[in-house]
Amino acid sequence: MTLGELKKGQKAKVLQAPVSQGTGERLREFGFVPDAILEILAEAPFGGDPILVMIHDTRVAVRRDDARGIQVSLLQP
């Protein structure tokens, strides 16, 4: 599954880093690389998009479309 499908409160582990230039690069710099643990802190109003992701010590707001390039596996709560 991808980061773009997660709901508020879910935790996951990154399997595959985003590959695209630009946005993908920025996401890798924010720490979206294999084995990183992340948690969805919030979903924006008006449709739950973008989402707010906690990764390492960083809160990153990202659109679900941009988050679909990141493969994750859900961690059981």
């Binding site: 690069e25 084995d35 990202v62 941009d66």
Partner: protein, 622 residues
């Protein structure tokens, strides 16, 4: 810059956004800085000498924050070019000082590792350690130094701690040209992240217990699906309220002061052209602009606090979905909100936007946000034509019209963005990735410095650009001089009067006579000048008080113009491409004449079209 300053060693501050770099800069330099701005390049950075108390003077530069040396936006590109000594900037960095927030070492040290790889003399400053000490999350500095191979110092700009030690270290690194011992640091991004995570587990084992839990607690309310937007609306309402009510008192002072200055100067200058230039031209023309200083400062006061505290990023998060609907993203929110004060700083603030497409569209629609220069024009026309009564029993009709003009500006800005997206006129993809920083108390020094910069920039503009335009306008409306037996006000015989009569047929469908057209011409230099220009055209007595002049003017206008023509004029002001400075900045920021021309002509077309429609509609209804 003097010879002695040019030979001083230069220290460049480098760090990620929100790392506390600017607070450190302010603490090291005080307020004696200047914003450097080199002609022809879209750059600026702050530059200052270190405070005397820290020992021998050293030049300090504060560059835009960046997450990596792999730039995604124009301001990040500048930082990369300067520290890698690319491009043609008059800067030679002797020592690089990387700044990393102690609470975000995992993110901020990634940039530090990239900088280490450059092999230049450098120091790492760990910032905001006052919080870390409180929460017991201080990293082991000795171990960090060991692992990274560079000197590491802990500082707190807020509490003024560790600054002397940092400066001493900088002097030592510079004197001995100490380079990083980059022996075994991984070079590719994923390796860096894993290296840092392992390192931080060792040197900062308590990091996860940090005190940012309260950021999550605040976000639970401020990012709540429906309380969040409500809070955002309240914040914007508060700002508007402040701009329009708090500013009126200082504005009265400025107007009074300028009036007195005119009377004082008029008192000893002999009658004639010089007096006319100084009193009617310079003092009243520049005064008409300076009067907006309080509104601009109040708006920026709030914007600086919202930015410094971390709330602006939340506003971008909350509004991204709406902005996406018209092909923009959450980052457009800050420039568009600044547009309510003035389009110029607002266009400059689009530099932080990553995507060129979204940046350009934001620049194109920014002039539609109702800037404070339109306000005096709106006020004059509304008081002359809109009856002071209530609709639906409680709404003040005049206030409602003013509100409608603001909403009209916002709505048309969003519609234009939507149309540009619909027809794909500006190419490029849309995305939104943004860090939401930990909430933080804004520091007073940051806010004061920010206000000082913006106020100074505004006054410089008033003192240079607007002053030269005012002189040209004075010339056009004074020469040729009226004949000796003239019966009409002198403007009738001037170049401006002739231009107005020549342009009259073009604007006749909007219901305007040549006098209105004459007054519109200076409005292209600065919108608010319309009020003064109308006063000149209708030869309002300058010696009476400002308020009486406005009252006299509005009673003349209500006879001169039909209601339909006045509504057309209001609508014209919502759209018209006025204030040449906006387009100068547009050209400078986009470096595209095509873009600037497109911006000018689409606004002109919309202004004429909607003013014509408003004229027809009002006539039909009335």
């Amino acid at each position: 810059m003097s010879e002695t300053q040019a030979s001083l060693p230069t220290l460049v501050l480098v760090g990620s956004p929100n790392c506390g770099k600017t607070a450190l800069f302010n603490a090291l330099t005080g307020l004696n800085h200047k914003v450097a701005n080199y002609p022809g390049v879209t750059v600026d950075w702050a530059e200052a000498l270190s405070r005397k108390q820290f020992g021998p003077a050293i030049k300090i530069l504060d560059l835009p924050g960046t997450y990596s040396l792999n730039p995604q936006s124009d301001d990040e590109l500048l930082t990369k070019q300067i520290i890698q000594r690319e491009g043609h900037y008059p800067i030679q960095a002797d020592v690089l000082v990387c700044v990393a927030d102690v609470n975000h070492l995992s993110l901020h040290l990634r940039l530090v590792m990239e900088v280490i790889a450059l092999g230049q003399p450098m120091v790492l400053a760990i910032s905001m350690v006052d919080q870390a000490e409180k929460f017991g999350t201080m990293p082991d500095l000795k171990e960090l130094e060991q692992a990274l191979g560079i000197p590491v110092r802990a500082v707190s700009a807020l509490k003024n701690r560790g600054l002397q030690e940092l400066m001493d270290t900088i002097h030592e690194v510079h004197a001995k040209s100490i380079q990083p011992r980059t022996l075994s640091l991984p070079q590719e991004p994923v390796g860096r992240i894993h290296f840092l995570n392992n390192l931080l587990r060792k040197v900062q084992p308590n990091a996860m217990k940090r005190g940012s839990g309260w950021t999550d607690r605040i976000d639970r309310w401020l990012l709540h699906p429906w309380l969040g937007p409500v809070a955002l609306m309240l914040v914007f309402l508060l700002i508007f309220q402040a701009i329009f009510s708090w500013a009126s008192l200082p504005q009265d002072w400025i107007e009074g002061g300028m009036g007195n200055l005119g009377v004082w100067a008029g008192g000893f200058l002999p009658d004639g052209l010089l007096k006319s230039l100084i009193v009617d031209g310079l003092i009243s023309g520049v005064g008409a602009v300076v009067v907006f200083l309080p509104q601009i400062l109040i708006l920026f006061f709030f914007l600086l606090i919202l930015e410094d505290s971390g709330y602006m990023a939340r506003a971008a998060f909350l509004l991204d979905r709406l902005m996406r609907g018209v092909g923009l993203n959450g980052r457009s929110v800050l420039p568009l909100v600044s547009g309510f004060a003035c389009a110029i700083p607002s266009i400059m603030s689009t530099r932080i936007m990553g995507s060129r497409r979204e940046r350009w569209v934001t620049i194109l629609i920014t002039p539609l946000m109702t800037c404070s220069a339109r306000l005096p024009v709106y006020t004059l026309l509304i008081s002359a034509f809109i009856p002071e009564r209530h609709i639906f029993g409680f709404l003040n009709l005049q206030g409602f019209v003013l509100f409608a003009l603001y909403v009209g500006g916002i709505a048309s800005a969003l519609m234009v963005a939507w149309v540009i997206q619909k027809f794909g006129w500006v190419g490029g993809a849309s995305s939104f990735v943004m860090e939401l920083p930990t909430y933080r108390w804004p520091t007073s020094l940051n806010v004061i410095r920010g206000l000082y910069d913006r106020g100074l920039a505004f006054l410089t503009r008033a003192g240079t650009f607007i002053m030269s335009v005012v002189i040209i306008l004075w010339f056009l409306s004074t020469f040729p001089l009226p004949p000796d037996n003239a019966t009409l006000p002198s403007i009738h015989y001037s170049f401006a009067g002739q231009m107005g009569q020549w342009l009259e047929p073009i604007f006749a469908p909007l219901g305007w006579n040549w006098k209105i057209v004459v007054a519109l011409i200076p409005g292209f230099a600065a919108r608010e000048v319309l009020v003064g220009a109308l006063g000149m055209v209708y030869a309002i007595d300058h010696t009476i008080a400002d308020e009486q002049q406005i009252t006299a003017l509005s009673s003349i206008l209500s006879h001169e113009l039909t209601l339909a023509a006045a509504v057309a004029l209001l609508v014209w002001y919502v759209f018209a491409p006025q204030c040449f400075a906006t387009f100068a900045v547009m050209q400078k920021e986009t470096r595209s004449w095509r873009m600037t021309a497109a911006g000018f002509f689409y606004l002109l077309a919309l202004a004429y079209m909607f003013a014509w429609m408003a004229h027809g509609l009002t006539e039909a209804l009335a």
